[in-house]
């Protein structure tokens, strides 16, 4: 079956359908990771977006029950060069196409994804429509134009959990699967705010020795502090941080009360809560190969990233110092609060998908909690 991707600026790509049929809309972004499409599909940060994988053969390893980053698929459309129906991997239990179909996600394949990527790079991320039903290209472009911009959208509160819950799963190991920490004595009590949190962040926290309670995005600071946490964690998530005023207010109340660690959207929210500004990037950073320098050690770590907004560190002068820097575009990759035990990073130390170079940050969080506890 034919499928079409139309962008708001009028560019159209004609391909073939795979996964679910129908119509989907969202901001079109590209991801340059060569592995880990299942994690991408289940990453809540892609809420409201349609992702094109720059690697061309997708579906090779099928879908397995383990490699999920949330309990469902969040992106609205999936764009690949050549979908591989026949998968091969000892953990796989179903094909990617079936998975998308089951979850109602529209996919398109057979388009020049490199041309699309170059277009997004040059013109910036923009809205688009994938359709297997609308035969009128003009009407599709119109629909794409009518979509609201990602800037100004609070999507995180739409993907957060309903109520607090306890997390006990640790990191994955070959042959053992995910660690089960149920009933284990974990020394650091952490309250993790869920703005669309990836499971692997929780697994990293647990494996680092944290007793994790996940709470909804708008969970009041007072109640969180009442749980007497050793630390607060602010998660990744989709959308623009700026309109999330309630959340930002809430975070302000947490500052100085307990050590805080933020990742991605959590990092941006911290920036805003500490009085800084954020801005939208042209096409963002989405991939598994981005070099980041830890300014404390001057060592470079290869990181996984997935963000369209960035913190303006100049707006935080005197409050925060730059701690990590993206060596490709020199954007802010991490910051440390001068007055309080707070730090955050823009990239994803939990990886999944991506390299594990930055996992030490969870250790740093634990050290910070330990120090704060002693103090």
């Amino acid at each position: 079956m034919k499928a079409v991707l139309a962008l708001a600026d009028g560019r159209v790509f004609q391909g073939r359908s795979f996964g679910a049929t129908g119509e989907a809309t969202g901001e079109v972004v590209f991801n340059t990771a060569m592995s880990g499409y299942q994690e991408v599909l289940t990453d809540p940060s892609y809420k409201g977006q349609m992702v094109t994988m720059t690697y061309t053969q997708i579906g090779n390893t099928g879908i397995n029950p383990e490699d999920v980053e949330s309990s469902r698929l969040y992106l609205s459309g999936f764009i690949v060069k050549e979908y591989q129906e026949e998968y091969s991997n000892w953990r796989a239990t179903m094909s990617l196409g079936d998975y998308l179909r089951e979850n109602g996600i529209v996919g398109i394949q057979g388009i020049d994804t490199r041309a699309l990527t170059r277009h997004l790079r040059d013109k910036g991320a923009q809205n688009g429509v994938i359709s297997t039903i609308d035969p009128d290209l003009e009407s599709m472009v119109k629909k794409a134009r009518a979509l609201p911009s990602m800037a100004g959208q609070d999507l995180a509160t739409g993907v957060t959990c309903d109520k607090p819950y306890h997390w006990t799963e640790g990191l994955w190991e070959l042959g053992r699967g995910y660690g089960d920490f149920t009933g284990r004595d974990l020394s650091y009590k952490v309250v993790a705010y869920d703005f669309g949190i990836k499971f692997n962040i929780l697994r990293c926290l647990v494996s680092a020795g944290c007793d994790v309670t996940v709470v909804p995005a708008t969970f009041p600071a007072e109640e969180a502090l009442a749980l007497k946490p050793d630390g607060i964690f602010l998660s990744n998530g989709p959308g623009d941080p700026e309109p999330m005023t309630e959340v930002i207010c809430n975070i302000k109340k947490l500052v100085g009360k307990a050590p805080i660690f933020g990742i991605c959207l959590g990092h941006q929210l911290l920036g805003l809560a500490l009085g800084g500004r954020t801005m939208k990037l042209k096409f963002g950073n989405h991939g598994s190969n981005l070099p980041v320098m830890d300014l404390a050690t001057h060592k470079v770590e290869i990181t996984a990233q997935n963000h369209g907004f960035s913190v303006d560190i100049a707006s935080l002068a005197g409050t925060c110092e730059l701690a990590h820097e993206n060596l490709n575009d020199m954007t802010v990759e991490g910051m440390r609060c001068s007055a309080h035990p707070i730090f955050s990073v823009q990239h994803h130390p939990e990886a999944s998908p991506g390299p594990h170079d930055s996992q030490y940050l969870f250790g740093r969080f634990v050290e910070m909690m330990e120090k704060y506890r002693k103090a």
Binding site: T32, S35, G36, E82, W90, D112, R114, P291, P355
Partner: protein
């Protein structure tokens, strides 16, 4: 950390001659390293014996030593040059081993030289299998169950623990030489002993077989700040059990989830840190059990490797260049990524295409060799292809191989007909056999298995090839079916033709293959395709999957929407490269192509390179202005011409590959510059050539063309035996033989070749004991300048690519040389050569015969250029672009006062059961040069460089055929007079004794024991002279030559070679050999 200022002078070791397992990838890496270090202001001293390399061009280093790559010569250079540092990680295993030797024997310490890149302990830990295994255990990684053996008894103990099948890996050998897989005790015993023999440390690793596991490689880089990045992951199509150099490999890894890939990545980081490779690239191989993902570390190379070259070309990340910079103290974040310019080299390339490498084999040259692929590498070259999908890149790779394949031709069917019929019992057996064992043809048999409907699961069970690859192959075969059933669509030009063609092209189908399916010709199909607008676009290799703007036009074709070629309107010249390395066409041609690029770029042209060999300097993205990594076929080249519209295309540098395309390209309107395709044809067409020689009053050996045995017999009788017979239009002496009598001729005509009216056999008078001369010359159409005259050491009858040669000639008279010059000039002008020409002459009884003329760059161009200091290929390129010799300031031949000797190196050690005797069929893979003040010393250096251990004392064994007996006396006498003892077989001994030379008689193998082979095996013999003639004598003496080879005893199978060796030995006895850089000769 910025670059080190405490070191000023760096010595780089190259890889020496091209051998199986070590090819031009180390010229690529060494050249990058030289360039990078010179750029940084270091004084670079280079040691490499291989004259056909770009790195040994005098401009690439400050002091270039074309001397044997041995610890002895390295020490001499260190003593003379006093470098601050030695960089051993860019010249393959040869460089590493040589560096280890001087590190261990105290030379480095004595002269205060620091080993940079990798320190001795790291090299030892990576290379010594016990230390490596212990290191892996320390970091919690598994290695296959294994143990070491140094002798028969130990080998028998270990196999009890390891079980069968067992992998035998000799320590410290190249490309797994001497290794293999044993399935039973008998095989094991034989291979274990051979492996211990092959290892310089008399050690083998006996290892648990992980045959059938998935095989992966990761290319890792580390800097002084301990930053580590992965440049590329590679997945092998062939499962474990086939040497990775012989496997089809694909980048990036295809069948790993992110979690599994990260396990490999984490392991790689741990390994490079634990082994302690300070800086630079390393290659780590893993096996993965496809049932549960269990991981085993197979090995690590603490240096830039063949896979690094592949990874560099596959990603656009220049591993060798960066490795050189890291070695002098830079960190990855301080180095820019050349392609994006804005981002640092400290990142992991991501690609948006699939790269497939397919090895090139030459088993046809060694019919006696076992063609099964094992853990010992047997391929001589490789091609790489880039496509947006695996299907596309695989099919592009296949047609890049130049083995007459343009896709998945059937081995069992006529593919234009029904291919789903039941196979005969015989076909069935053949198919099963070809699927079960790894062999180079398996890919095509897999195609047939799919054609008859075998299921992927079945094929997986038989071959162990991952179902993902097999399924993609199945898609290709299904597309073939679709195409076949759409023949009417083509014939009637139905509207759906566009879509069908586009789909087929996206699957990588070539015009030629589709044309075959539709029973039309390639050109007609091409015209239809173009008229429908089905044209390829060109995409860039940019390290970043289009995330950043790419500033380097490194391109590949695919059938999609957007073209990124952005051709310029500059004055431009396109050079067609040489394709995969093979015997007969290797690095020498790449050297010429690269020189062509340099010269034309220097003259203001935009240069465009087209090639598909990932090992080469020509496929480095910064060699030419624009690089097209594409198959060298009519279709693919025309596609590029259509986009680039070059002002000239050069076909005479890349060897036979582009030359074969010349006529067709010219017909298609491509502006071929240089010697016209018609002149090339005149030189190659027997009859036209004869007419020309006649006109010029030049001599040719008597000859004729036979279309049957009867005709051949008549010709042979007319011109007299011996005769040289060969099929018309072959290269590298394929199927060429010297025939001494009618029975041999009958056998040849009936078994070796199938003569027919379309495929006639050429019969030439063989000039026995003639001297062969090679000449390279430049001609601009008006004037001819001799580049160099080379006298072969071996007599005519040995393929020119296999014989040693001397520049200047060492025995012919000045008059003869002048006459050769005159004749060369006549022919060059008559042929209208514009550029290079090579002529082979034979001199016998005062007469000069012309054997062959090639109006193109020859294999000897780099050697001549190095020997004389005149860059022939550069000058030729400028002539082709319109300059005259006078304009280039070239008015006379350079006649050097020193002597340079070229010697060939052979792959015999890799092919058990193959005879080492030389003949008209070329067998060598590479060459070395010895350069010194006189012939004897230059010859000795060439021998040492080729790995021949010329003895200075000991017992020499001599056994020569009757006609050689009188020629060997002087050499034998010289040896005796210089303290050597002589052993000889009865006939030879009697002849020598008659001439008053004391000699001990030793039994031939057929004469009872103890015999000569016993003596060789007992290391009692230091050198062997053995010439034979006639099938029986050759068979009888086979074991002598083979054992000589396996025991690394110097041997010569021609009297001319023996005589030169004796002179070389005498020269060495008189005075130890000195070293002198090329720059001081010129």
């Amino acid at each position: 950390m910025p670059k080190r200022t405490d070191i000023k002078k760096i010595l780089i070791i190259g890889a020496g001659p091209i051998v199986i397992g070590q090819a031009c990838e180390f010229d690529y890496s060494g050249t990058q390293a030289c360039k990078a270090l010179k750029e940084e202001g270091y004084e670079v001293v280079l040691l490499n014996s291989n004259p056909a390399t770009i790195m040994t061009d005098p401009d690439f280093a400050d002091r270039t030593y074309v001397e044997p790559v041995t610890p002895e010569f390295l020490e001499k250079i260190i003593e003379k040059e006093r470098p601050d540092a030695l960089l051993p990680t860019l010249g393959g295993q040869t460089a590493l081993n040589t560096a280890v030797a001087v590190a261990e024997n105290g030379v480095l310490e004595k002269y205060g030289v620091e080993l940079i890149g990798a320190k001795l302990p790291a090299i030892k830990m990576a290379e010594d299998r016990t230390l490596f295994k212990e290191a892996m255990e320390r970091i919690g990684l598994e290695v296959p169950r294994s143990g070491f053996a140094h002798n028969h008894a130990e080998a028998m103990e270990i196999v009890k623990v390891v079980g069968f099948p067992t992998i035998i890996r000799p320590s410290f050998t190249l490309g797994g030489t001497g290794g293999g897989i044993a399935y039973n005790m008998e095989e094991y015993e034989r291979m274990a002993i051979a492996g211990i023999d092959a290892s310089p440390t008399d050690e083998i690793l006996v290892e648990e077989s992980v045959i059938g596991w998935k095989e992966y490689e990761l290319e890792v880089m580390r800097d002084t700040k301990d930053n580590v990045v992965i440049i590329c992951s590679i997945e092998n199509f062939d499962p474990m059990g086939v040497h990775t150099g012989d496997s089809i490999t694909v980048a990036p890894a295809q069948t790993l989830t992110d979690k599994e890939y990260q396990i490999l990545r984490d392991a790689s980081l741990k390994i490079i840190r634990e082994i302690g490779v300070d800086t630079g690239g390393s290659n780590i191989q893993f096996g993965i059990n496809p049932r549960d993902g269990r991981l085993a570390v197979i090995e690590m190379n603490p240096r830039v490797s063949r896979s690094s070259a592949l990874a560099s070309k596959a990603t656009g990340f220049p591993i060798a260049k960066i490795a050189a910079k890291l070695a002098v103290g830079y960190s990855l974040d301080e180095i820019r990524n050349d392609i994006t310019r804005e981002t640092p080299a400290c990142f992991e390339p991501t690609i948006d295409y699939v790269v497939t490498k397919v090895p090139r084999f030459t088993f046809e040259k060694f019919p006696a060799a076992d063609a099964t692929l094992t853990t010992q590498m047997k391929s001589v070259g490789e091609v790489m292809a880039i496509g947006r999908t695996f299907k596309e890149s695989l099919q592009k790779a296949i047609r890049s191989l130049e083995i007459g394949s343009c896709g998945f031709e059937s081995r069992l069917f006529d593919i234009t007909e029904e291919t789903r019929r039941a196979l005969t019992q015989k076909e069935q057996t053949l198919l099963q056999e070809k699927l079960r064992t790894a062999n180079w043809e398996r890919l095509w048999y897999l195609g047939d298995a799919l054609r008859i409907g075998m299921k992927v699961d079945e094929l997986y069970a038989v071959t162990g090839i991952d179902p993902w690859f097999l399924n993609n192959m199945r898609h290709i075969i299904e597309m073939e079916d679709e195409l076949k059933s759409a023949r009417h669509v083509f014939e009637k030009r139905l509207p759906e033709l566009v879509e069908i063609l586009r789909d087929a092209k996206q699957y990588g189908f070539s015009d030629r293959f589709i044309a075959r399916l539709w029973q039309t010709d390639e050109e007609s199909l091409r015209q239809v395709r173009l008229s429908l607008g089905v044209r390829p676009v060109f995409k860039r290799v940019d390290t970043c999957a289009a995330e950043f703007v790419a500033h380097t036009p490194y391109l590949y074709s695919t059938y999609e929407e957007e073209c990124e070629a952005d051709a310029t309107d500059r004055k431009k010249i396109m050079i067609l490269g040489g394709g995969p390395n093979r015997i007969g066409q290797g690095i020498e041609f790449d050297y010429c192509c690269v020189h062509g690029v340099f010269a034309l770029a220097g003259d203001g042209y935009e240069t465009i390179m087209v090639n598909c060999n990932p090992e080469t300097v020509s496929t480095d993205y910064d060699t030419s202005d624009r690089l097209y990594f594409e198959p060298l076929t009519y279709e693919d080249v025309l596609n590029i011409v259509d986009v680039e519209k070059p002002h000239g295309v050069i076909v005479q540098f890349g060897g036979q590959t582009p030359l074969k395309l010349a006529v067709a390209l010219e017909k298609a309107g491509v502006p071929i510059i240089g010697t016209s395709p018609d002149s090339i044809d005149m030189a190659e067409d027997r009859e036209r050539f004869q007419v020309m020689l006649h006109k010029l009053h030049l001599l040719q050996p008597a000859n004729g063309t036979a279309r049957s045995f009867e005709e051949a017999e008549k010709i042979a009788e007319r011109i007299g035996y011996p005769v040289v017979v060969r099929p018309s239009y072959v290269l590298g002496g394929r199927a060429m033989e010297i025939v001494y009598e009618v029975e041999d001729l009958r056998r040849y005509m009936h078994t070796a070749v199938q003569a027919s009216p379309e495929h006639p056999i050429l019969v030439d008078k063989f000039l026995d004991a003639a001297i062969e001369i090679d000449v390279d010359a430049l001609c601009d159409g008006r004037e001819v300048i001799i580049g160099g005259i080379m006298e072969h050491i071996e007599e005519a009858g040995i393929h020119s690519g296999d014989s040693a040669c001397s520049l200047p000639p060492y025995s012919i008279s000045a008059e003869t040389a002048d006459e050769i010059r005159r004749q060369t000039g006549l022919m060059a002008l008559e042929l209208g050569v514009r550029g290079l020409m090579n002529v082979q002459f034979a001199v016998k009884d005062g007469l000069i015969y012309i054997l062959e003329v090639n109006p193109r760059a020859s294999r000897t161009v780099p050697f001549v250029s190095k020997a004389t200091g005149r860059p022939l290929a550069k000058l030729a390129a400028l002539i082709m672009a319109g300059k005259t010799l006078a304009e280039l300031g070239i008015s006379s031949e350079i006649r050097p006062s020193h002597t340079a000797v070229k010697e060939s190196v052979f792959p015999f050690v890799k092919f058990p059961g193959v005879d080492t005797i030389l003949g008209p069929e070329m067998k060598s893979t590479g060459e070395v040069m010895g350069i010194d003040a006189d012939f004897a010393r230059a010859f000795a250096k060439a021998q040492l460089g080729a790995g021949v251990r010329l003895p200075l004392s000991g017992k020499v064994f001599i056994s020569v055929r009757d006609s050689d007996k009188k020629h060997i006396v002087t050499a034998a006498k010289k040896l005796y007079d210089n303290g050597f003892e002589l052993l000889a077989t009865r006939g030879t001994a009697a002849h020598l004794a008659e001439k008053g030379i004391p000699v001990t008689v030793v039994n031939k193998v057929t004469e009872g024991r103890p015999h000569i082979v016993d003596a060789i095996k007992n290391n009692e013999v230091c050198m062997v002279f053995n010439t034979t003639q006639g099938a029986q004598a050759v068979a009888d003496s086979f074991s002598i030559r083979r054992n000589t080879l396996m025991n690394n005893v110097a041997y010569f199978t021609t009297t001319a070679g023996a005589k030169a060796a004796v002179d070389g030995i005498l020269a060495m006895l008189r005075k130890d050999l000195d070293v002198k850089p090329l720059q001081e000769y010129l």
